[in-house]
């Protein structure tokens, strides 16, 4: 059984992923889009910036950063896990090795960040790490595929 997506989604998801990634990271880190796309959302924990010990409440929130998060994660996963035109066992091996390497690098960076970055900045590291493993996997896999097809 394989869980790969159809090859026809590869190009479209790639374009959306690499366009939305820098925009999304900027939107999330800068917080410049707090007034855009404000909707009522449901939170199972208390809304931020309140001291009430409440949960399971509706409150107004800019949904732009959440939207970017959905788009980046979904398109990143689809693009990374699309079938190649000829999907054979060597491609599967390259995919697995790329995923393993990206996981090691990503968690290595988290360990280093935990050791050397403290305070509020550490939150940025965690936010960036939401996408780092997908990005690394995508880049490593694409590079190794490029080398494979060149051989």
């Amino acid at each position: 059984m394989n869980y790969l997506f159809n090859n026809k989604w590869k190009k479209l998801s790639g374009w959306i992923f690499y366009l939305s990634l820098p925009l999304g990271i900027y939107a999330i880190i800068s917080g410049n889009f707090e007034d855009i796309f404000v909707i009522k959302v449901f939170s199972i924990f208390e809304p931020p910036l309140t001291n009430h010990d409440t949960g399971f409440v509706w409150f107004k929130n800019s949904f732009i950063d959440e939207s970017f998060t959905f788009v980046i994660i979904i398109t990143g996963i689809v693009n990374s896990f699309c079938k190649e035109k000829i999907e054979d066992e060597l491609i599967s091996k390259i995919r697995l090795e790329s995923l393993t390497l990206s996981l090691f690098i990503s968690y290595g960076l988290i360990i280093l960040s935990t050791l050397f970055i403290y305070g509020f900045e550490y939150l940025y590291v965690l936010e960036f790490n939401l996408f780092l493993i997908i990005l690394l996997f995508n880049l490593i896999f694409k590079y190794r595929l490029y080398k494979h097809y060149k051989s």
């Binding site: 000829i86 054979d88 060597l90 091996k93 097809y149 051989s151």
Partner: protein
């Protein structure tokens, strides 16, 4: 592990492209196998032995 795929391919007058089509893999995969960069699965090994009408032992051997 080493293999005699290139030799058998020559014997059957098949190009890497022809063989890749018969096996349903890419031409680059055949190239990687021939150059010992990739060791194929048992399934692929059996398919190769069927195409070349020989045993797996005759195709692959340990160094």
């Amino acid at each position: 592990m080493k293999n005699n795929i290139r030799m058998y391919r020559g014997k059957f007058s098949l190009t890497q492209e022809d063989l890749s089509k018969k096996l349903g893999v890419s031409r680059q995969t055949i190239n990687s196998i021939e150059n010992n960069k990739y060791f194929p699965s048992l399934e692929l090994g059996l398919k190769l032995s069927k195409i070349f009408e020989c045993t797996v032992d005759e195709l692959f051997s340990l160094d």
